[in-house]
Symmetry: C2
Subunit: 608 residues, 2 copies
Amino acid sequence: MCGIVGYIGPKAAQNILLEGLRKLEYRGYDSAGLAVHNGEKLDVEKKEGPLASLEEALGSHPLPGQLGIGHTRWATHGKPSDENSHPHVDAKQQFAVVHNGIIENYLELKEELAAKGYTFSSETDTEVIAHLLADLYDGDLVSTVRNAVKRMEGAYALGVIHVQEPDKMVAVRLASPLIVGVGEGENFIASDIPAILDHTRNVYVLEDGEMAVITRDGVELFTTDGEPVQREMLHVKWDAVTAEKGGYEHFMLKEIHEQPKAIRDTLAGRIKEGIVDLSQEISLTAEELNGIDRIHFVACGTAYHAGLIGKAVVERLARIPVEVDVASEYRYRNPIITPSTLVVVVSQSGETADTLAALREAQKAGAKVLGITNVVGSSVAREADEVLMTWAGPEIAVASTKAYTSQLIAIYLFGLYLARIRGTRSEAQLKEATEELLRLPEKVDNALSDADTIKQFAEQIKNHDNLFFIGRGLDHAVVMEGSLKLKEISYIHSEAYAAGELKHGTLALIEEGIPVIALATQQDIFDKMVSNIIEVKARGAHVLGLAQDGDTELTKSVDEVFTIPQTLPLFTPVVAVIPLQLLAYYTSVARGLNVDKPRNLAKSVTVE
Amino acid sequence: MCGIVGYIGPKAAQNILLEGLRKLEYRGYDSAGLAVHNGEKLDVEKKEGPLASLEEALGSHPLPGQLGIGHTRWATHGKPSDENSHPHVDAKQQFAVVHNGIIENYLELKEELAAKGYTFSSETDTEVIAHLLADLYDGDLVSTVRNAVKRMEGAYALGVIHVQEPDKMVAVRLASPLIVGVGEGENFIASDIPAILDHTRNVYVLEDGEMAVITRDGVELFTTDGEPVQREMLHVKWDAVTAEKGGYEHFMLKEIHEQPKAIRDTLAGRIKEGIVDLSQEISLTAEELNGIDRIHFVACGTAYHAGLIGKAVVERLARIPVEVDVASEYRYRNPIITPSTLVVVVSQSGETADTLAALREAQKAGAKVLGITNVVGSSVAREADEVLMTWAGPEIAVASTKAYTSQLIAIYLFGLYLARIRGTRSEAQLKEATEELLRLPEKVDNALSDADTIKQFAEQIKNHDNLFFIGRGLDHAVVMEGSLKLKEISYIHSEAYAAGELKHGTLALIEEGIPVIALATQQDIFDKMVSNIIEVKARGAHVLGLAQDGDTELTKSVDEVFTIPQTLPLFTPVVAVIPLQLLAYYTSVARGLNVDKPRNLAKSVTVE
């Protein structure tokens, strides 16, 4: 995720672009940059760090001009640095490009261009676009972009300007958001509506495979094949704050709904011929991967809960024994680590202090560390021996949602890759699992569709100060995450239990009317789970059940039921966590609390 | 633990003995028996099973006579069976003996007697006493008993009668309780006061190394060396219900106070020349013990918390990687088990359904199973490949206390034994640790001595519905147990957290005035723990701290502090759990709840 803006009109572009970027900082904030056409040439300024660093640099050297594009970055290819910042330009600085998304075939294109003598000054996929445009340049910006796009695979939104066409800006969208703001004698492009709301409320929302050619006085829409497109203009009624949240009331709800995309992005480029292939990212050889005899997952909070799923995934798929540790405990307990131990640390921000300390401790003890993180260039990404990125984009709400599901996807990819290399699963099994992985975004979408039932669940629990979640096996790990979500933002003291363990003490707390949220997606232990539900029902609990579509059994034993799409048992957590995230969200709203910034908590815990 | 009674007087002995045994059933209930002098010979009836089985047997064949002894058994040496039941007799049925305790040198005595031609019909240590008495018989019951006692090592209370002396009963006490009830023309012996309260309130309490010679009309007390003893008579004012609880208001409090003895009994006979030696009990060879490459602890509830300590003990002392699982999860998660995996199951009752199922699952997968249990002859004791008994005696209160500390002791013994065999600790280190183990009963006694401070803590939490426990490392495992105790009997929703993990979400629940109970006994992480305490203090928590004697630091950061005796870091759980058990107890009492039988719970969970 990144934010892009563009301006063409009678005013000074620089400040309009900077204001726009400020509204898009939630989309990324590790570096920012501008390219402005000064009438003769393209001036570029770009800086690592928050937008303030760019503003400071521009303070002494402003970029004059009335046409320009800007970018705020969330690193994907290449760490945060001045060089990797956008806009990117070709060698002669004829083209300037801002880009949001991923060019999946950029390595191939890069090799091709390098062979022709192009040199690259950054590690990004975006720079490849600038050189590709230069290579294909036919004297016309629009047709050149159209031809370049034909060569590009992936997901992207682009803004492009050319030194020879000071009255024109071209924008393209494929699977990354892009809008065109239509003003009076001035026009705009942006990743999102808030960036242009100060100037106009008239907007065209581009669709996939569409392209806009924008001048001061006009906007024309085409398909990337050149067919004209008619589009109704949207008149935005949102206020600026709502707009920043993409129309959602809170960042958390927005991020919950971004999960299908986050999952797609995290899967992208990692499946070849129907099978998971991480050989481009993980440098451990087959011999080294075969030599691993123990794996430790180490993480905190929500990422720890992803690690619990990791244990099941790796043990079932690759039959390597796994331990899962809370990072603050791991580093002080003198864990048994050998050179054949792989330590997997999981951290959205890549800066979690306890997790980082554990990573260093593990390396000191001689283990290789695989980092799973959402932030390119973060400490975890830099210090881990191997890195598997999640591509969830920036997460603003303190309560993590899309980072968690993306971590699960990274873990599935890793588990399937290990199973492939170690030969613990047949090719047919791997293909079947991989196919199902690719169906998850749609299933998550489906699970998101029945918010009304969950709102009603929220009404039923909102006045309780205590409640319990129960589940068995993978469902237990999922309800631990569901319970943490609820605690974080509703301040209800909820606790998650392995359903079979409740009777060994905590059942004493089950009294008339106490809500129990019971997850029952695992068919092999379904009957046992129903028995545990009957135990709490017998003590008067009000049971809200979550089952798979088609359930006829659980429905008989619980007070209310919500169903989610069926998938492979190992993948159910990705789908099952959705209603639990929504439940936490709607309960927090119903209790009138600050959903995105709960009391006492910080997004990234950089202290021990 | 077992219960013994004896009667001499004008009435029929049988019913008086049976009534007495009924009052002592809390001391054991796996079998019972009587020996009554019918004027000519000693009649014996004994039956496996509860007292009702004996009563049924006697219903058709009553034992006439006015002198007799009786016993209700809690198996130690030898499984519950008719043969192993007491009373035991010699080959000619001249002597009948009931015994509570352990004869530590019984194997040696047995060999000696076997060499002389004595044959044994049971597996017990007690039968050895009967044959020893026969072997030493000099025509006088009293001097024969005196001479026999000189040969016996261990802890015991005995009641003995002889066919040639129909007017006399002899009782001896060494470290197991025994009282003499003094009536009008009739006298009694018993393990505990409730057994005789229907007949008299006048009692002599025997002390260690004392012997009573009892006739219808008189009681004479001597040392076992034959010196006369003067003892003041005790006039019991307790009612029968209080008496059954040894003067404590509840079984739980009684059992909490029995922990020094339970620890001593569990250590007894397992330390040779200052070092732990389990070779008599564990049949795994040094080669087999050296071949173990992974250990799984599997248990439920409180025993699971003992398993968490087990992980630290085994990993630190013997450097074998350990996983700890809740039994209801373990059996269904397809754990990775190889022939070099040792599975350790922990269950007080030895009948916990989930634990038993896990044991069978592990054996099916090819692992050896070590059972740690408190009940000889239980399913775990019978089915496990290796058994390490805890000697806590019967636990009546649903909330487990002395079983837990005894399980910890068994685990320490096992860890030290492994470290010895595998050479991961020097002899000096093993000796130092073993010496410290032997000091634990006294330290637990010390921790029990300041109940007033804990009562005051209980007053401070009793009106809260939610609270948290925090700790790091071993302290985390201990607060999990402390929290479970509180939940079970006070119905307060308490939750235990690894102190460093709280900030990753649950800190949102910390608000003004909420109690947080913080355990800080581990010196290497003490400063980190203080930081976590300051985090919750800053959010308004009311912090009750538990530190080690001599603490000057924690005191500054918390609202109240309770200190416990210092010991080795690995052993602190045994001492640190004491105030937490007392806190749960006094809070339950302050809330007016049923301490010994909390709602919804059963003592031994024999369903899944």
